[in-house]
């Protein structure tokens, strides 16, 4: 079974981003970029499937500017076999990404697509669901456990209030939640080896997909600031304030 993993290049999760002063966008000058954490979990899961002998090949795909090659190389260093970059300078919104991935799925015919449940920049949580719809595949979103049994995938999902287990007919799309696994670190020899792994580049035009966005960001702004309150000296004072000042208990 071939596994396709999608990875997104995003601002590193340790960076606190700020809107530009004119509100036209987020200031991304000289900030550290990384693989989206949820996508990294997807790569790890795919590599584990290969190590268990369930996956024959792990293909990693990223979409965006040329610099996304860095994230593909990182995924290759973690154990993916081959990379695909769909290169474009256009802003890509989730539906466009899903359409591009659908075109890649048509070419590659994977038995399983693994991707992060959301990216930590746009926080949309849409692309896996959209790809599933376009490719007419079942979806297992927010996965905390994935078991492949023959031509079925058993997916345990993080839902409000607990866990849900569903069974999907393969091929399927699975989006990862935090507890699915803990990604490994790439070793230096593997980082060196990753540089020699194949990486193909294609464009949205070649895939026959229009990526024109339909949602325009009019402005971005910082959220309303919350003012720090007071420090209380004791638990007695805290309870007194909550009872008589805030009146919440």
């Amino acid at each position: 079974m071939k596994v396709l993993v999608a990875v997104k290049r995003v601002v590193d999760y340790n960076v606190k981003v700020r809107p530009k002063s004119d509100g036209s966008g987020v200031d991304l000058n000289n900030v550290k970029m990384s693989i989206n954490p949820f996508c990294e979990i997807a790569v790890e899961e795919a590599v584990r499937l290969k190590e268990k002998g369930l996956a024959t090949e792990v293909v990693v795909v990223s979409l965006g500017e040329k610099s996304c090659q860095e994230q593909i190389r990182t995924a290759l260093a973690l154990g993916a076999d081959r990379g695909i970059l769909v290169e474009t300078a256009e802003e890509l919104q989730p539906l466009a990404v899903a359409k591009l991935l659908k075109a890649v799925v048509d070419k590659e015919q994977p038995g399983l697509v693994l991707m992060g449940k959301q990216s930590i920049d746009g926080d949309n949580n849409q692309t896996a669901q959209m790809l599933s719809a376009l490719a007419d595949m079942p979806q297992g979103t927010f996965a905390s456990e994935l078991v492949i049994e023959g031509d079925k995938a058993k997916v345990t999902r993080e839902i409000d209030g607990g866990l849900q287990t569903i069974e999907l007919s393969l091929p399927a799309v699975v989006s990862t939640d935090l507890r699915l696994n803990e990604p490994r670190y790439a070793s230096l020899p593997n980082i060196m080896k990753a540089k020699k792994k194949p990486l193909d580049t294609m464009t949205p035009d070649e895939l026959g997909v229009s990526v024109a966005p339909t949602v325009k960001v009019l402005k971005v702004a910082p959220p309303p600031e919350r003012q720090a309150g007071i420090k209380v000296a004791s638990v007695e004072e805290l309870v007194e304030k909550l009872r008589n000042e805030a009146k919440v208990i």
């Binding site: 926080d123 979806q139 409000d160 009019l218 208990i249």
Partner: protein, 309 residues
């Protein structure tokens, strides 16, 4: 303009998040219908008909919708969507699972986690873990939206008298099936619906120590939550998680115990009306958002708090 709100329910009970989604629909303005898709969900349809401001309830009662499988529900919603300008659902795990699939079937964008309605085509939504609020404008003819429930005050659950109409369409994609569910059983209120939340972080040191928080929660009728650090450390299950990647809560009182206040946690609780922080590190960022901060060792302060309540 017609708006279809997708009801959140358990087949027997209408979930309050539906009322927040209806509130967002009212902010957009237009004729509001509610879809109840489930199995044996007639009572939910009756309850939905009483929601203030709703003019019609569609009930799709079929085994294919019993477990809200996205493959089946999205086909139904996309088909019904032909007759509406807006499709809205609360941004619950169900809403997030189903609505983007609906949008793709309709070949339109989805707009996730809307926190404010500016106009019929313009909305606010948080990005970058809530560090940035984006104002977005959609040029799609149909708008598929999930609603951040904490951003819209629930409409009244009673007072309406909508007509109820059965929908016959049965879509079973046949590609997925429900195996089972483990829903944490608790006498405490649900995290996202509780008026008081007591949360613990890495400072709790282990899962056993969460019993101290449970004791306080039981005295206050509160729900228990946790930071991602506490979940990652295995102290508590993931459904306790409050934050960008967990639940978004906005209770009247939020008590953060042993939580440093990472950005991603603050994103999930900073709209709480009153925030209390108990932490031994006086420089912890949580104190920058707390109305009442107590610099203390939680292992002394929490038992003391319990006796005083």
């Amino acid at each position: 303009m017609g708006i279809l709100v997708i009801a959140e329910h358990s087949n027997t009970e209408l979930k309050p998040s539906t009322l927040n989604a209806v509130a967002a629909a009212q902010a957009i303005g237009g004729d509001i219908h509610v879809l109840v898709a489930g199995a044996g969900c007639g009572a939910v349809g009756e309850a939905a008909a009483k929601i203030a401001g709703v003019s019609k309830v569609l009930v799709a009662d079929n085994a294919a919708y019993e477990h809200q499988l996205a493959e089946n529900a999205s086909k139904l919603i996309a088909e019904l969507g032909a007759g509406y300008d807006y499709l809205l659902a609360p941004a619950t795990s169900n809403g997030k699972n189903i609505m983007p699939r609906v949008a793709a079937l309709l070949d339109v964008a989805a707009i996730s986690d809307v926190t404010a309605v500016i106009s019929g085509d313009t909305f606010e939504r948080p990005i970058y873990a809530g560090n940035v609020i984006a104002t977005v404008q959609s040029s799609d003819a149909k708008k598929v939206i999930t609603v951040r429930t904490t951003a819209f005050d629930a409409v009244a659950a009673e007072g309406g008298s909508a007509s109820v109409e059965a929908v016959a369409a049965a879509h079973d994609a046949g590609k997925s099936s429900f195996i089972g569910e483990e829903i944490a059983k608790s006498d405490r209120p649900e995290l996202t619906a509780a008026s008081i939340v007591v949360s613990g972080g890495r400072g709790m040191q282990n899962g056993d120590n969460f019993k101290m928080l449970e004791a306080i929660a039981d005295k206050l009728g509160a729900a228990v939550g946790a930071s991602r650090a506490a979940v990652d450390a295995g102290f508590v299950p993931n459904d306790y998680q409050v934050g960008q990647t967990g639940k978004i809560v906005a209770p009247d009182l939020y008590i953060a115990v042993g939580i440093s206040g990472a950005i991603q946690h603050l994103a999930g609780m900073k709209d709480s009306k009153v925030i209390v922080a108990i932490n031994k590190d006086e420089d912890a960022p949580i104190f920058q958002v707390a109305d009442y901060g107590l610099v203390a060792d939680l292992f002394q302060a929490v038992p003391e708090l319990e006796t005083l309540l």
